[in-house]
């Protein structure tokens, strides 16, 4: 009787004497090779879900028969790893600590302290920052000082704006080359304004009061 290999886990299992299909034969060979590798300690990481399920059954049978004890070297490495991780000293799988010599025993208290150290620092920083914010928030405002002098006081318009148009007026084409004369005229006007501003008595910034 030929069998259908479609449903490995839930399908009917044929009698031992039933003729296997080519597919079942191929699957059986694959599984046999998986068992081979597993028995020699080289279980492949990748396999089909069905094969994995069947291999787990095989492993359970072997384990229950006492065929799969934990290797002493493996056990030693595991324990070393666990203890190292517990104290926060390097660690990680495959650290090669099978010699069994664990360098120095670090008490759990210190390990715990190490584990909490970053949190303690972060907490302290947060507290300091919060205290600073609260201090700034609650600090009484400083006593109002004397009213500040006005930034700008009223000054004659000629001090802040001296347009040149009224001075020069329209420039006829024939006098376009007399720029030097015009500049001299403007300079004289500016100088006059400067003197007025500078030497007027009582005016801020002037020196008139001192003379």
């Amino acid at each position: 009787m030929a069998t259908d290999d479609d449903d490995i886990l839930t399908g009917l299992v044929p009698d031992p004497d039933a003729e296997p299909t080519a597919a079942e034969r191929a699957h059986a060979k694959t599984f046999a090779e998986l068992v081979d590798k597993t028995l020699s300690g080289r279980t492949p990481p990748a396999m089909s879900a069905d094969d994995r399920a069947l291999l787990e059954v095989a492993t359970v049978i072997r384990a229950t028969s006492g065929g799969l004890p934990l290797a002493p070297a493996k056990q030693r490495d595991l324990i070393e790893d666990v203890l190292r991780q517990a104290v926060g000293v390097g660690g990680g799988a495959g650290t090669g600590t099978s010699s069994g010599a664990m360098p120095g025993v670090v008490p759990i208290e210190r390990a715990r302290a190490r584990r909490w150290a970053p949190w303690i620092v972060a907490g302290a920083s947060t507290l300091v920052a919060a205290a600073a914010v609260v201090t700034l928030w609650l600090r009484t405002p400083s006593r109002p000082s004397a009213p500040a002098p006005p930034v700008a006081r009223a000054v004659p318009a000629s001090w802040t704006s001296r347009p040149t148009d009224p001075l020069i007026g329209p420039i006829p084409r024939e006098r376009a080359g007399d720029a030097g004369a015009r500049i001299d005229y403007i300079f004289a006007d500016r100088l006059d304004g400067f003197r007025e501003r500078r030497w007027s008595p009582g005016e801020p910034g002037s020196r008139g009061g001192k003379r």
């Binding site: 886990l9 068992v35 095989a58 799969l68 004890p69 934990l70 595991l78 203890l83 759990i108």
Partner: protein, 218 residues
């Protein structure tokens, strides 16, 4: 009978030593945990974790997690005049349960283990770690044997030769008087049948579920 008091004496001394180690570990001496872990790593792996997972790589990982959790939470352990082993075993079973839950491999398996735990790890009903481990090992074997008894003779023999005695395929085929290819098919079917019968049991403590019950033993 004369050896019984001596055995009791030795057991008592071992328990006292273990209590001292636990106490030291709880006070912060990490190195005191080492002999405890060395003593119980193997029974945890062989009788608690691996038979419930069926995968050596996962089992080693779960063992590592179990030991790490034990070291981390040793202060929470309360000495009750019994070995620390039931406590470790409980941690291991919880880890195994997590693995099954995460992988969703077998909801029934996970559920079954939840029911199983309080019964087998009751500290009042077990004298010491060795007894618990032996009892558990016997229970596993019994389950395997019950399932094996339901298999057809040729399937039983194939499993016995290849997975229990771990003989090479060629030798298994020779003993059964078949070709290697035929033996491969026999073993393949035998494991499938085993899995189905194993999963069909409904009593608490069953493991490796995820099955249908279409097939009945022939």
């Amino acid at each position: 009978m004369a050896s019984e008091p001596a055995g009791d004496q030795q057991q008592r001394e071992e328990l006292e030593e273990e209590q001292r180690q636990v106490s030291e570990a709880q006070q912060g001496n990490l190195d005191a945990m080492r002999p405890i872990l060395e003593r119980y790593a193997r029974p945890l792996y062989g009788t608690v974790i691996l038979p419930r997972l069926g995968d050596t790589a996962s089992a080693e990982e779960v063992l590592r997690d179990t030991l790490a959790t034990a070291v981390e939470k040793i202060r929470r352990f309360t000495w009750q005049g019994k070995s620390i082993y039931p406590w470790l075993r409980q941690i291991a079973i919880n880890k195994v349960y997590d693995v099954h839950r995460q992988s969703k491999r077998s909801r029934r398996l996970a559920d079954a283990m939840v029911h199983e735990v309080p019964v087998e790890s009751d500290p009042q009903s077990h004298a010491d770690a060795q007894l618990i481990a032996d009892q558990e090992r016997r229970a596993h074997r019994e389950r395997i044997e019950v399932t094996m008894a339901q298999l057809q003779e040729r399937y039983r023999t194939a499993i016995e030769l290849r997975l229990v005695q771990e003989l090479p395929r060629e030798e298994c085929a020779r003993r059964l008087g078949v070709t290697i290819g035929t033996f491969d098919v026999l073993l393949f079917r035998a494991v499938r049948a085993f899995r189905k019968h194993f999963g069909e049991r409904t009593a608490p403590g069953d493991f490796l579920g995820e099955h249908t019950s279409e097939e009945r033993p022939s």
